[in-house]
């Protein structure tokens, strides 16, 4: 069995390594400093288990998991993150609160071995990540993978979002990106003062809007600074009017 440790503090990694010594069957494949290294290592070694810190440089632990398909078995290690802990508890994922004892560590490993070292199921990961999305970092930016590279999009750069089957298409000035999330997710996570769901399939950044024009009976379009036109439904129009104070 292969395991990977992803944590930005060398000492925090060393304690996991020390505790792992009593499990010769678990081989430590790699130690990673941040989520970027983590993704690379996971693709390279295909580990069965990862020890994952939440607050890390560049992208946090949750953002890293979002980019993995399928996600390996995860034991989270974190010092303090009320949002994350709430998410773990409601999804029965094991987590270790730093500093943790050898006993507690053993229990986590036992639990993982008992459950047949299953990988996190896709739906399980999704719903865990969605409930963890309350944490502040998640509504500031979106992490996407494009052509094998990781791209971090600040919410300010987003012009509008468009539903596309199981994905959401994120339109920015640099181009469009796909993210496997639902419209409902973004509607919930983004600040509703700036992002308005104008249509079943569209969410608009109101700071990009130049004008609103009638289109057909009971429907409108907003014209963005970029020139893009986004459909507005009747309820969407009502929402826009409240947010813009019209």
């Amino acid at each position: 069995m292969k395991a990977i440790i992803i944590d930005d503090e060398p000492l925090a990694r060393s304690i996991v390594i020390e505790y792992l010594q009593s499990y010769p069957e678990i081989e430590l494949a790699a130690e990673c400093n941040d989520g970027f290294e983590g993704i690379k290592a996971i693709q390279q070694y295909q580990p069965d288990l990862i020890f994952l810190d939440i607050q890390m440089p560049k992208i946090n632990g949750f953002e890293m998991l979002e980019l993995l398909e399928p996600a390996p078995g995860v034991i989270f290690t974190t010092a303090y993150d009320e949002y994350a802990i709430k998410a773990f508890e409601s999804h029965a994922v094991d987590y270790l609160l730093k500093p943790f004892s050898k006993d507690r560590f053993d229990k986590a490993i036992q639990k993982w071995l008992m459950t047949g070292n299953t990988r996190l199921e896709k739906t399980g990961t999704q719903s865990l990540l969605e409930s963890a999305a309350q944490s502040p970092a998640q509504n500031q930016r979106v992490v996407v993978k494009i052509a094998g590279k990781i791209k971090i999009i600040q919410v300010e750069e987003i012009h509008f979002l468009e539903a596309a089957d199981d994905y959401v298409k994120i339109h920015t000035k640099d181009g469009t990106y796909l993210k496997n999330k639902t419209m409902g997710y973004f509607e919930q996570v983004f600040n509703s003062q700036y992002f308005v769901r104008t249509h079943r399939s569209y969410i608009v950044n109101i700071q990009e809007i130049t004008r609103i024009e009638p289109y057909e009976k009971e429907s409108w379009v907003v014209i963005l600074k970029s020139g893009a036109q986004v459909p507005v439904s009747k309820t969407g129009h009502a929402k826009l009017k409240t947010v813009l104070g019209l």
Binding site: L11, I15, A79, K98, P99, F100, Q140, I152
Partner: protein, 316 residues
Amino acid sequence: MKFGFSATVATLDSVVTNVQLLGDCWLVSIILKYYIPQKESYWYILIVSLGLSALTLVNAKFILTGALSNQHQYLTFLSNSWPIRLGINFLLVCCMMVLTVLWYRVEEVQEDHKRKADTERLSREAELYKLRHQLQPHFLFNSLNSISALVGSRPELARKMIQQLSDFLRGTLKKDDQQWVSLSEELLNLELYLEIEKVRFGHRLSTAINVEEGSGNMKMPSMLLQPIVENAIKFGLYNTTEDITIRLLANSYENYLQIIIQNPFDGETSYPKQGTGFGLSSIQRRLYLIFSRADLLETRMDGNLFITTVKIPQLI
């Protein structure tokens, strides 16, 4: 207007009436001391005034009729003049009541103000105390985790770190009388914090502190720099995997102690904004509570440097 009464009669009339009115006023002020009618019950004032004026009138008539029973012309005048007497009595008593009510009201409002000011002062002190002693739990638990790791491999270093963490915590727990410290004292405490962070992040974190001559003795609120530096580390270190240097420059500028803190940040992954981050907003709040000014903390970005400037007015 002349009524043709003698001075004795007139004086007696006026004394009897006015003494009673005086009594009424006294009575009114006593009553109102214990019961102030609320806004909706001003009828209470009217009824009490009317009752008292009528009583006064009847009383005065009784006394004056008894005392001046031989003055028929006066007695007729007394009988005929009751409406005007009642009116005047009523007006006077009513005025007195209204004035008394107003007086008590003003007093109440003043007391209210004082109470409010006291509450505000207390809550301001409590808030300042809380802000000063705020520690990121993250820092504490991660430090304990580092110690836990060191205990196995390098016990000597673990002991040293426990020492540093204790010294730092002791510094944050100082009581209110040490709210103001000199820059040098503040930097000593900051040094303790940085030593701990350096153990956590190893060689990746280095600091350069530069204090210009003469500014070391300048005064500042205690525990102000640590959250700013913590913020700098968060943006600098947590968002990049390269080695970073956090620079602190302190100088005296006009009548201010000016402290500039610089950290590199990665524009690709982080986006530091003015006022965000718990560290900086609590500093802003503290400076506002202490100096009533919102312009003492500034942040700006210069290339890949994030620069925080704090100005501390020197109160001489």
